[in-house]
Amino acid sequence: MSAFARVRELLRAELRQPAPQQLNTWHILGGLTLWLLFLEITTGILLMVYYRPSVDEAYESVLYIMNDVQLGWLVHEIHRWGAQLFILLVLVHLVRVYFHEAYRERELNWVVGVLLLLVVGAFAFTGTLLVWDQKAFWSTDAVRRVIAGVPLVGRAILYFLWGGTELGAGALLRFYVFHVGLLPWVAIGLVMAHLYLVSRQGLFHRTQLTRSPQTYADVILSGLIWVVLSFGIVLTLAVIFPRELSDRADPLTYESVKPPWYFLPAYGLLRLIPKAAGVAGAALGVLGLLAAPWLGRNSWVAWGLGMLGIAAVALLAAYGWRW
């Protein structure tokens, strides 16, 4: 047997493994986020070919990608819309896991998942600035003002993340390095840990397992349908709703910008509560999310807390949006 045939046999054996019967569409969400991560990394690498991370050239190089590079507009838009869908799916996945109470006995994997959510947020935050247009500049600068208002550690955070207290050439390069150099490794490491824990701890409690008519090949095939669908959706969004870049970032022309939808709850919170307290509130929220498996030991309490949390986030988002 050739080496290739041996590997094929191994894979086939894996695919022939029976899959749990309870496995349904909800469980595809996690796999789908993995596919979107792959899509983001691929288009991200492609964008790196033409993107130039300097204040003088960033905006122009994005214009170049969008106008002159063949299919450059498409790669750019897929990266952008793919990211939106990615964030949405990660959030839905989190809510799904919470209300299915799938975190029970998998507390560590829950923590890894929440960390991944934070990494995704960091990806979105650092990526927005890179186009270096007015919207990107002023929405990032608004965050700078918030962080600068944090007592004691604010300045230190700014020096670390921004490379100084001003949003400028140094900050752009740093954001770029975070976005393409540091965060991908963190994300890949966490995803591997996430998947490893899933495969070790199983999708279901052993007691719930029954004989199943489906194998993992069936699961992967039905997942493929969703992959194809989500790809189509991203393509459609990319073609029909292309982003219109605003003007080149000009630090001397203020523009009031609303944050993207996924940061609206935090924005609403900061609008509601004065600066340092608001930042503390947001940090408390993240800590609460991390500690969810321990807070909700009782099923009723877990559901109550979960619904309260979702209501609070939705209200804050609505407040931030209306502001």
Binding site: V62, L63, Y64, M66, N67, D68, P213, Q214, A217, D218, L221, S222, L224, I225, V228, L229, F231, G232, L235, T236, V239, I240, R243, E244, L245, S246, D247
Partner: protein
Amino acid sequence: MVSRLFIGAMLALALGGQAHAAQEQNSCLVCHSEIKVDYLESVHAAFAVTCVECHGGDSTVLDPRAAHALEAFFRGTPQRAEIPELCASCHSDPIKMKPYGLRTDQYAEYQTSQHGKLLAQGNTTVAVCSDCHTAHRVLPAWEPRSPVHPENIPGTCAQCHPQRDRSVHSQAIEAGNIKAPTCATCHGAHGTAPPGVENVSKVCGMCHITERSYFDAGPHKKPMDELRISECTSCHGSHTIEPADRKLFDTTCTNCHRANSKEQLVGQKIKTLLLTAEESLKEATYLLEQAQQKAVDVSAYRSRVIEARSYFLQALPVQHSLDIAHIEELTRRAKSIADDVRGGLHSLQGVFTIRLLGLTLVWVFLLLLIIVISLVLRERRGERL
């Protein structure tokens, strides 16, 4: 001129110390404290020109009687009629003025002015030096506080001549463009007189050089000179000059020419040429801005719009020659370039349709793929049952 003013300012600073010493001994300021503030700010104070130069008397004694003594040539407040001569006693003296780099012809000019002529006839209500320059707080014209600074001249003249104009010129002045003409630019500063009919085009032509040269080359010049019709102001007005507009062709031609006469039709023809070019240019500029916002690379079109705009702006002064061929040439160039840009920018927007077509094709493929996958899935389930 700027450098000379600058030297003047430096001199004022340098001489400040010496002037200060002179003011220490100036006893007038002890009693006349109401004038002290104004006077000490003036350029005269800075150059140690003291009270006695104009008012006579003795500034070294504190006794009012001795200071105001006629033996000390005390003059008191000068009569209005004698003010120009009094100022001229220094300001017309080339030797005295040489260190300050000032001209000395103001008095001679004043005597030729309407103000000066009426004063010579005994009319003392006309403006004398102190009416424009103030009596005690005399400031150089370049200082923004000075009443003869370009921005303040309209207000200064309006003290007596209340017909403040709302012309393009005064709007430019108010907007801070000190290159724009004030009252004095057209009427003269010291030699004020309304420009005669025969001189209007020369006065306007000081700045509107191209307009004037095209006008002089055109058919209006000779008959208007012969009939002594004021040249620029007949169409543009004098103190109420509005921004030049194509509408003027509808309102002013018929002042002299009959409606539907050959001459009036020439005016309408020029108006149409300019308007069509202007519209085309406006739309091209608008599309360019739109495309820029949609992140379409327009650098190839930017220079062309600049070019078209340049041709159009060149055509504007040529109007005054009434040379239709020349105007047509320039507007045609502006319009053809602008149309070109419009076409190019429009075709950039057609790209969207092609993208939609591609998307549809991709969806057809993706749907087929989904159908095939579900067929395979069904087949596998059926196999197990």
